[in-house]
Amino acid sequence: MTALRRIISTDHRIIGIQYLLLALTSVAIGTTLSLVMRIHLVWPNWRLPLYGPILPEDYLALVTIHGTIMLFFVLTTAPQAGFSNLVLPAQIGARRMAFPAANAASFWLTAAALVVLSSSTFVPGGAPISGWTAYPPLSAVPSAGPGQGAGMDFWLASLALFAIASTISSINTLVTIIRLRCEGMTWERLPLTVWGWFTAALLSVIAFSVLLAAILLLFCDRHAGTSFFLPAGDLVNGVLHTVHGKGGGSPLLWLHLFWFFGHPEVYIAILPGLGVTSMLLANFSFRRVFAYRTMIVTTLMIGFLGILLWGHHMFVAGLNPFAASAFSISTMAIALPASAKVLSWLATTWRSRPSYKTPMLFSLGFVSLFIAGGLTGPILAQPILDEYLHNTFFVVAHFHLIMAMAAIFGLYAATYYWFPLMTGRLMSEVLGRWHFWLTLIGAYATFVPMHLAGLAGEPRHYAQLTGVPNAAGVMLARLVPLNRFITYSALFLATAQLLFLWNLARSLRRGSPASSNPWLATTLEWHPALNPFGQAAPDEPLAVHRSPCQYEITPSGELFLPQWAPDTLADTTGEVTFDTKPE
């Protein structure tokens, strides 16, 4: 019983680590699947050991599970639930989350969702093949293909569990931020990480409830004879759909519901990264974040605009063309708050001679990748260009740079930065630096050429580039050399991550012990009274006296004023100078 209690913990820090471990497991699976896909694309006759040749339906199942795992179980869990559980309460001066039991429930529901998703591989027909967007009728009719029977049901069940878990977790986050801030922690003094989690949680509550509804409707179409997404007379592989009563449904309804969820979802993945990057750039530049208030406003604006532009996934889906024009404008508009963030980061690091610790390197990498991946947004936001680029590898390159690579760099920065709060130890800087440079090179080498493949017209979700008949076959075969380069780069990128795993395993036991505030940070998670590896004082009252990132230059050097240091102390003995002397 005690063993069970140790596993099913209601301690937010343990739950945070559990989420991170779940994400680490998921990212290992998701990366392996993507490598199998990459290898199959350029060496189609390669046989997967213990399995055999990869059939077209296997390839699509790989795409589907790769996308689902990465988006939900990595990019939603780790930034939003993982790190927020680990440090959010401390950052606002609380010692717990608002609802500890619900917190544990949402983690275990998420874990159950991952088990259900993985099980879909082992049911008759295998995993679903309709991609993470699951457009009906492909996803609504079992006769549409292998994997669309039991596999699809498992997929739907998994995402339903995940949606419930995320909703609970987001409500917990929101209530914690609203109700449990300590004395003096006004909204303007909240670290930008907290603003990122807050905005992402607001989006989660809205988005995941819509996803849950859509999943239930699709489930009814599959099993209860309804016609939300199926038109009358739809004939799939010899199976005719007849409608009871009047009329029929439309697949476009699913597209609307799904993307009303799906677009906010990609912002949920990146918003915490934006917050972490802002705070870390300031921390290691020993500066205040430039235009702090504007940063808060742009975070909220990105969240708000994020729910108004789902239609840009549907420019060629069959909407009224006027709708495309409207969604194109709202999509272009989001470039402005995003650019404001980049400008603020550039101003924060400008002539700061920062300290290049590994978390800082990954934060700078985040900035670079966010710019690179973000800038192709205004290209894809133009409906006329979508007429050529939609569903090509140009889109794949765009969202992998910004959503996968930038968000992963945010996660790495956060891991290197907060590792002492998980283990009391620091990760190796030498390994960290190697890991950073190799990953940065690998990321650009993998995803920049994908833009070229897209410009050359390579469509997504193609199981093979060779052996295709007609003029299309000539066009696709031309793309094999470029794809071979992408595959080599992807293998290099994945291999570089072994350095991280090694660093993790090594530092867990042999990392140098961390002091209570190793990065000279100003935010409350480094408060000595909250340090789980120091003299944690569970009863000491917490109070905040100023905004985060107060670094000042004095004739004797620099000093930093943590949010918790009382004003009187700062004037007399509380000055902490640090060793990296400014020039």
């Binding site: 077209p56 339906e57 699509l60 795409v63 093949i129 991609g131 457009y135 009906p136 009728p137 492909l138 009719v141 549409a144 293909g145 292998p146 199926l230 004939l235 439309s250 235009a291 060629v316 063309p321 495309a324 404008i329 272009m332 470039a335 402005l336 650019s339 980049v342 400008l343 101003a347 400008w350 002539r351 700061s352 001679r353 670079s368 710019i371 800038l375 205004p378 290209i379 936001a381 133009q382 409906p383 260009l385 007429e387 050529y388 939609h390 569903n391 090509t392 410009l455 017209g457 469509p459 979700h461 193609y462 199981a463 093979q464 295709v468 008949p469 007609n470 003029a471 299309a472 076959g473």
Partner: protein, 247 residues
Amino acid sequence: MPGLFAVTSLLSLLPADASAHGPALDRQLLLSLWIVLALFALAHIILLVGLVARRHSAQRSIWHVEYVPLLALAVLFAVLTIRAERLWAATRYTGASLTALQVEVTGVQFSWYFRYPGTDATFGRTQPQLVAPGEGNPLGIDPADPHSADDMISSQLVLPAGREVDLAIRSQDVIHGFSVPEMRLKQNAVPGETIHIHFTPTATGTYAILCTQVCGMGHYRMNANLRVVTPPDFDHWLAQREKAAQP
């Protein structure tokens, strides 16, 4: 200029441009790529210069650092948006002219079918119950409809160069993506709907028609040829096929 070379060679990656609206689309794409590449370089130069320069803390005004550059970016993106909207409006806001050639495109796992309406210029009714690919009726054309008799179904899309085409895009089963890269054309085929797009092929040749919306295990090999021929060749081909189709 290495930048110019980079972007121009990017564009040479694109397949040939063989439709009337294509060149304007390509110019807009080239302009967008140019702007993006320039902004990427500029941001990285500022980032790197800021990192290597001596430490210096000066009060900077938010106007200079954020609002003025944002205003410039807003103007830039607005210009791009307006140009793009005008092109989109020109191709999509209005339908085809009344003299356009009518062709119906139907996506079925995993092939494209093209139906020409025949001399009566009207497509016969289709019914899913009548679909029988094995009996030569893959679209379920209803023989009871008098318009059906002269309808002709082809597995390749043959079009005359220089004449506007009005495509009526449909799907029998799941969502497919009708895409012709050389024509700079893409439109999903949605079951239950008939979606019209129109364009004018300009150069004769054989081009690829792809499926660009994942539709099942055969998605990657769901394609057809588009053959753009001279008008006399087209008339000859159509007459031959119609004669063969008559009972």
